[in-house]
């Protein structure tokens, strides 16, 4: 669990905690490590060819995805879909593909996954003759991955110590608001928010000026803490370790609830990012994986996922189906999209591996 967590992994953990059973809490803490043992034994390798195995990060995400996706898929196609919650980390996918023993058809991934795995030849290309590009918010359908849901990296703050809504620039103003700040231990979204704080307009971020962003962050490094897991980001704000922080909107929503809005967040100046479906090279069900993706593009299931886990629907057609009270926490709601920057996958494809290491080197030096 101390390993750097992905958004999907954390979201599964949130679901696990919401049930508040001891067992689930324990499972959530151990997600990263426990899952390793189960990886090789994920179901479906010997099953009928049409069965589609979807790998996600376990916990109640299994239940939520079953309701949102499996039931409609099986009804629509007559095929079978199995959810395997053992956690599709990059390392595990690479192991499977190299060993030619792939048991997953679809993995719940993100740009950190497709950016590293795609160029290394470990993923199938998304077949847009089957998957409908028009059912994806423009800009979120890529060669090696297609948007499954949307999430945001946002600025949250402690209203007991910061009375007025802070800007991104205030994040770097230690005189105005003394106290420690919180960032994710990863370059993704952190560089973008730092550049916007430095005055770069949201629509002119890419190609990222990496040295400028790193310099900006290094300037306040002494007062920065870095989180690896979503739970960590939440507890550091709740317990007063930091006065503001950049974290996932799902954790921002939980903080608002837990602290009665003492800790709050805004989508203003946030970064909209996609959760992606990716297909490991040589997946057992072949093209059926693409059919499954197409089925999961139905807006109804995506709205269910928003209600259950706070994931923004990927299909623009879902917007009218979203109940108004959920729009405040929906990163993909039109009013929230307007105030955020949008991540550029092409840039990440070409630069992620190198830049991530540069970022880690900067914070460790």
């Amino acid at each position: 669990m101390t390993r750097l967590q992905t958004f999907a992994e954390d979201r599964a953990e949130i679901m696990g905690l919401r049930r508040r059973t001891v067992l689930k809490g324990g499972a959530a803490l151990g997600v990263g490590t426990l899952a390793v043992g189960a990886a090789g034994f994920g179901g479906g390798a010997q099953a009928a060819p049409k069965e589609v195995v979807v790998a996600n990060w376990g916990g109640d995400a299994v239940k939520a995805m079953t309701e949102a996706f499996v039931v409609p898929y099986e009804k629509a196609t007559g095929g079978k879909m199995v959810i395997d919650g053992s956690g599709p980390s990059n390392g595990k996918i690479k192991t499977m593909v190299l060993a030619k023993n792939v048991t997953w058809d679809l993995v719940d991934s993100g740009l950190a996954g497709t950016g590293e795995l795609g160029p290394a030849g470990l993923l199938e290309e998304i077949d847009y003759s089957i998957v409908d590009k028009s059912k994806v918010t423009p800009g979120f359908a890529y060669k090696y991955g297609v948007c499954n849901y949307m999430f945001s990296t946002v600025q949250a703050w402690d209203t007991s110590r910061i009375k007025e809504k802070p800007t991104l620039a205030d994040f770097f103003d230690l005189k105005k608001y003394p106290g420690k700040r919180l960032m994710r231990k990863d370059s993704q979204a952190m560089l973008e928010l730092a550049l916007m704080a430095d005055g770069v307009p949201a629509d002119k971020l890419y190609p990222l000026d990496v040295p400028r962003a790193l310099k900006k962050i290094a300037g306040i490094k002494k007062d920065l803490l870095f989180w690896g897991t979503g739970a960590e980001s939440q507890s550091m704000l709740r317990e007063g370790e930091v006065v503001m922080g950049w974290l996932w909107h799902t954790r921002g929503v939980l903080l608002q609830k837990d602290t009665n809005k003492k800790i709050t967040f805004t989508f203003d100046g946030g970064l909209l990012q996609p959760g992606l479906w990716a297909v490991p090279k040589g997946n057992p069900a072949g093209k059926q994986a693409m059919v499954a993706i197409a089925a999961m593009q139905a807006p109804e299931g995506q709205v269910k996922l928003l209600a259950a886990m706070g994931n923004g629907p990927a299909n623009p057609a879902a917007a009218p189906l979203v109940p108004p009270e959920l729009n405040a926490i929906n990163p993909g709601a039109p009013e929230n999209v307007k105030v955020q920057a949008k991540i550029d996958a092409d840039w990440y494809q070409a630069n992620y591996a190198k830049v991530r290491q540069q970022f880690l080197d900067m914070i460790a030096s």
């Binding site: 750097l4 590293e116 420690k180 231990k185 591996a353 914070i363 460790a364």
Partner: protein, 277 residues
């Protein structure tokens, strides 16, 4: 080969096979990957000399491990000394105190330290209430916090070999030193300390080697800024997919440990250290 020897070989054969298949074979694969990915050769190993990022991580690891080992040894020596000279009843109670944390999950212990050391934690609150400080001390989210957590974890591992070594010291030797006119300090420095030295080296070695591979404690108490080598390897394997680099560092670590054992083996008999003789 006598019948006796043959029987004993047959009896340990299953264990040998198990170790070969489950331990040495994967280890060999790690070595192979480190010289074949991304291309055949020693390119990954050259990074030890060229990559500032790897060098810094190794230095950070070394620094934390040396401090952890030194502090652990001093504290463990004190505890082991008192333990050796305590009455049997007290000794049992103390031993329980030493062993109890050993049975607790490393995660639980790290989070317990978070509660104690954080900005609004017990420690800072108490110091503030006593009027000793105005601003909370930075006790964690840095190398200090990591070292505190690691020393706590390592103490039982440091104490037990030392205690074993000290128990074996013949009390009559000490009595003889006193009888010949040496004071308590001199008896300790000239007789007890040299006799306990194998224990010091043994427990130092154990603690140092364990510290090298530490992962959870630095990740939780380091505030994300203290990246030790285990975490670096994990990032390479799980995230960046630079397996060649990850396995290279892992192999280097193993080689360094073997080298350390070899050098120490020239100084002291390792078999005595680990109680095989």
């Amino acid at each position: 080969m006598t019948a006796d020897r043959r029987t004993s070989w047959i009896m340990i054969a299953p264990a040998l096979v198990l170790v070969a298949v489950l331990f040495f074979a994967p280890l060999a694969r790690v070595l192979v990957i480190s010289v074949t990915e991304p291309s055949f050769g020693l390119g990954n190993y050259a990074m030890l000399f060229t990559s500032a990022s790897i060098q810094r991580t190794l230095l950070t690891t070394l620094r934390i491990c040396v401090f952890t080992t030194a502090i652990t040894l001093v504290l463990a020596y004190l505890v082991a000394y008192v333990l050796t000279h305590a009455r049997p009843a007290a000794q049992r109670l103390m031993l329980l105190g030493v062993l109890l944390p050993l049975w607790m999950s490393v995660l639980v212990r790290a989070f317990a330290w978070v509660t104690l050391l954080r900005r609004e934690g017990l420690f800072n609150k108490a110091l503030e209430a006593l009027g000793l400080i105005d601003h909370p001390l930075s006790l964690m989210w840095n190398e200090t916090g990591v070292t505190i957590g690691m020393v706590h974890y390592m103490l039982p591992l440091g104490i037990l070999p030392l205690w074993a070594a000290m128990r074996d010291i013949d009390g009559r030797v000490l009595a003889a030193a006193r009888g010949l006119g040496a004071g308590p300090v001199r008896t300790f420095l000239r007789v007890f300390l040299p006799l306990s030295l194998p224990g010091v080296i043994g427990s130092g070695l154990l603690v140092f080697i364990f510290s090298l591979g530490f992962f959870i404690t630095p990740a939780i108490l380091g505030g994300g800024k203290t990246i030790m080598v285990a975490e670096y390897i994990d990032t390479q394997i799980q995230e960046s997919l630079r397996w060649g680099v990850g396995t290279m560092i892992a192999s280097t670590l193993i080689a360094a440990i073997f080298l350390l054992m070899f050098v120490l083996g020239r100084i002291v008999d390792l078999r005595t250290l680990f109680g095989a003789k």
